[in-house]
């Protein structure tokens, strides 16, 4: 059943309902009709028997009965299916009127002084299985002798008539069922047309035509929700595709620079004989470019893997300030060379993957160092809250323009497209920070005043100690 089409399923169901209804109606009507007919015939038999008994009671003897045969028979003349038999109590036949030529069996007779009612009717099958109904009664003649009056009716005509009706009902009902199947198939097909329209619309949507949408106006109210949900899904897919496309383009673009450097420098070096130290310089420069490419690939793979649902986080609870101190020490030399001071404030326990925590803070700190002018300081803060912990990285510097604040965490986003030192940063550092925070169910945010303080804040929600947890 589950493999049948919706159309066929609905049609079958509808046909089933129609069939059941017709069967019930047909049965009830046929039953009522046959009951009605039999009741009428039964009443006729009973009335005839009553009349006959009344007439017989006024007759003197057997001879009179024979004499008045015509009068008695006239009571059953109207219906050719009726038969009449009058016998003496000894069993001698006085009158035997039998147009249907079907013998009347010996019926149990109603006593002469008892009212004849339909309940006394008896049924049997006569020759050739013809259904018969009949009734018998005793009557006392004036001379005191008793006679038995039997009235019977052959029901074959009625049976035939009902048979005709029955077959008529069957045929009509059958025809109605067939019409119902055809009509329901057609109507359901019509009713389901909006689904096919949606399917047609969906068929037209390809990676090249992701902007196409399902036409909601063509859908009936019941399908609006489905169509809107599909359209919302398409929008998300389109955005994902766009991002991916942008990402691929940016990546290819960023890979070009180091490759162009390697190729160009190597070609220039090969164009004429060089000293050994020149060759060494070239090779070392090539290795540096390779490192750059490797780092870029590593970052891109990290971002790609972080999106996989199987990415495993090894979260533990640890002291954030201790980690900040360690990271601060790592950058100490670099900061000192740039005349920048790193200070750490606050205490908090963080529930995070230690490796990723270090990576996120390091990326922010490296970023801060890049933009902090000499003589300023970078402040790392750890703040505990009831739901988790926040780590802040604050520095003074040129700040981030309001237009860039929302985009700064996007992959390959650089505030200054023509920045000359793009080689030193892959443009993925902050995207990695954002991804790490998403993996932790936390948040990365930034506040900045142009020419003032810039604060990046990472919020880590607290959680229960578990050795490993899957993303989402």
């Amino acid at each position: 059943m589950s493999r049948l089409s919706l159309n066929a399923r609905l049609a079958l169901l509808f046909t089933f309902i129609v069939t059941v209804c017709l069967a019930v109606v047909g049965t009830i009507l046929f039953d009522a009709l046959s009951r009605q007919i039999y009741a009428q015939d039964d009443l006729g038999i009973v009335l005839s028997a009553r009349h006959l008994r009344r007439l017989a009671v006024e007759m003197d003897d057997f001879a009179a009965v024979r004499e008045h045969q015509a009068r008695l028979v006239s009571l059953v003349l109207g219906d050719s299916a009726l038969a009449l038999k009058v016998e003496s109590s000894e069993g001698n036949s006085l009158i035997d009127y039998n147009p249907p030529h079907l013998p009347i069996i010996s019926l149990t007779a109603t006593p002469q002084n008892e009212r004849i009612v339909t309940e006394h009717l008896q049924r049997w099958n006569s020759l050739g299985d013809v259904p018969m109904r009949g009734i018998a009664t005793f009557a006392m003649l004036r001379d005191g002798s008793a006679i038995k009056i039997s009235v019977a009716r052959s029901m074959s005509d009625r049976a035939q008539m009902l048979e005709v009706y029955r077959s008529l009902i069957w045929k009509t009902a059958g025809a109605a069922v067939i019409i119902a199947i055809v009509l329901s198939l057609f109507l359901i097909r019509q009713a389901l047309r909006p689904l096919r329209n949606i399917a047609d619309d969906a068929r037209g949507i390809t990676p090249e035509r992701l902007a196409a949408r399902i036409d909601i106006r063509r859908a009936p109210a019941e399908l609006h929700e489905l169509a809107s949900a599909l359209n919302a899904m398409l929008l998300r897919l389109q955005q994902g595709f766009d991002r991916l496309w942008q990402f691929t383009t940016d990546l290819a673009h960023d890979l070009r620079t180091p490759i162009a450097n390697m190729r160009g420098a190597s070609e220039v070096a090969l164009s004429r004989p060089r000293s050994a130290s020149e060759y060494q310089g070239l090779l070392a420069s090539n290795v540096e470019e390779c490192d750059r490419v490797t780092r870029m690939i590593e970052s891109v793979l990290f971002l790609a893997r972080a999106e996989s649902p199987h990415f495993a986080l090894r979260r533990i609870t640890f002291d954030a300030s201790g980690e900040l101190k360690l990271i601060g020490e790592y950058f100490e030399g670099l900061a000192a060379e740039g005349g920048v001071d790193i200070s750490i404030r606050g205490e908090a326990r963080v529930f995070a993957d230690r490796e990723l925590f270090r990576r996120a803070i390091s990326n922010l700190l490296a970023n801060a160092l890049r933009y902090t002018p000499a003589g300023n300081s970078i402040l790392l803060t750890a703040t505990a809250s009831s739901q988790g912990a926040s780590i802040g990285v604050q520095n003074a510097g040129i700040g981030i323009a309001p237009a860039d604040v929302d985009k700064i965490f996007e992959r390959f986003y650089r505030t200054d497209a023509s920045r000359t030192d793009s080689g030193s940063s892959s443009g993925l550092g902050l995207a990695i920070v954002k991804t790490i925070m998403e993996l932790h169910g936390g948040r990365a945010s930034v506040r900045s005043e142009v020419g003032g303080l810039t604060t990046f804040e990472l919020y880590f929600p607290s959680g229960s100690e578990g050795s490993t947890s899957m993303k989402l």
Binding site: Q280, G281, L283, A284, S285, N286, V287, E288, C290, D291, T294, R295, E298, L301, A312, L326, E329, Y330, F331, E332, G333, L334, A336, E337, E355, R358, R359, S362, N363, A366, L369, S424, S425, S426, G429
Partner: protein
């Protein structure tokens, strides 16, 4: 020390052979899994460097069959750094792995670590030229003069002197000294080396800490060769 390299990519195999031979190893190359397995089982090698992506019989198959017969150290190279791949390699009996592309000095360091039998000896005193390092008391003297180092600078110097004559990559240094196991875009290590060098080498004619451009850093007496 005899090494076997199983690597189908000719360029990779060639530079590995050259580099390892220049580092004092005897090297054989097999360019497919079947030959590699045959050599590994028939000959006596001290270590096998095994590429995972091989035609016909892949690296996992080779590793599995080597392990059925022999217990030589196997270092596998893979371009796919999926966690499952690494886990699989280690479960099959690989001793260590490197993800392509890797720094040659890193490979050299891993090979030396695997070939070193037993745990490294903890030395109490290191003397290189006129440099004296008291590991227990964490004190350093150059030409008899006390040199004050921060704890991290001391760790860095200790690492370089423990691996005297070995080139250490930036990644190795960051990992060992600061426990930072990811590549950062910054020149933190370069700066740290510069600062250490200022304390150790400045004012001395014989330089100890040398930069090998593009590869890393090495501590040895005189010019590195």
């Amino acid at each position: 020390m005899r090494l076997l390299i199983v690597e189908d990519e000719a360029k990779t195999g060639e530079y590995l052979r050259k580099g390892l031979e220049e580092s004092g190893f005897t090297v054989d190359i097999a360019n497919n899994g079947v030959d590699g397995l045959h050599l590994a089982l028939e000959e006596n090698y001290d270590l096998v460097v095994l590429d995972v992506m091989l035609p016909a019989l892949d690296g996992w198959g080779v590793l599995e069959r080597i392990r059925e017969k022999k217990n030589i150290p196997v270092l596998f190279l893979t371009a796919r750094d999926h966690v499952e791949d690494r886990v699989r390699g280690l479960e099959l009996g690989g001793d260590d792995y490197l993800i392509k592309p890797f720094a040659f000095v890193e490979l050299l360091a891993r090979i030396r670590t695997l070939l070193r039998r037993g745990p490294a000896r903890e030395v109490e005193q290191i003397n290189i030229g006129d440099l004296e390092i008291d590991v227990i008391r964490r004190r350093v003297k150059r030409a008899g003069q006390r040199v004050d180092l921060t704890p991290r600078e001391f760790s860095l110097l200790q690492l370089l002197s423990n691996r005297k004559g070995e080139v250490l990559s930036r990644t190795q240094i960051a990992s060992y000294v600061w426990d930072m196991n990811f590549d950062s875009d910054t020149n933190v290590v370069e700066v740290a080396i510069r600062r250490l060098r200022a304390k150790i080498d400045d004012g001395h004619t014989v330089k100890l800490i040398h930069t090998i451009r593009g590869m890393g850093y090495v501590l040895e007496v005189g010019e590195p060769g």
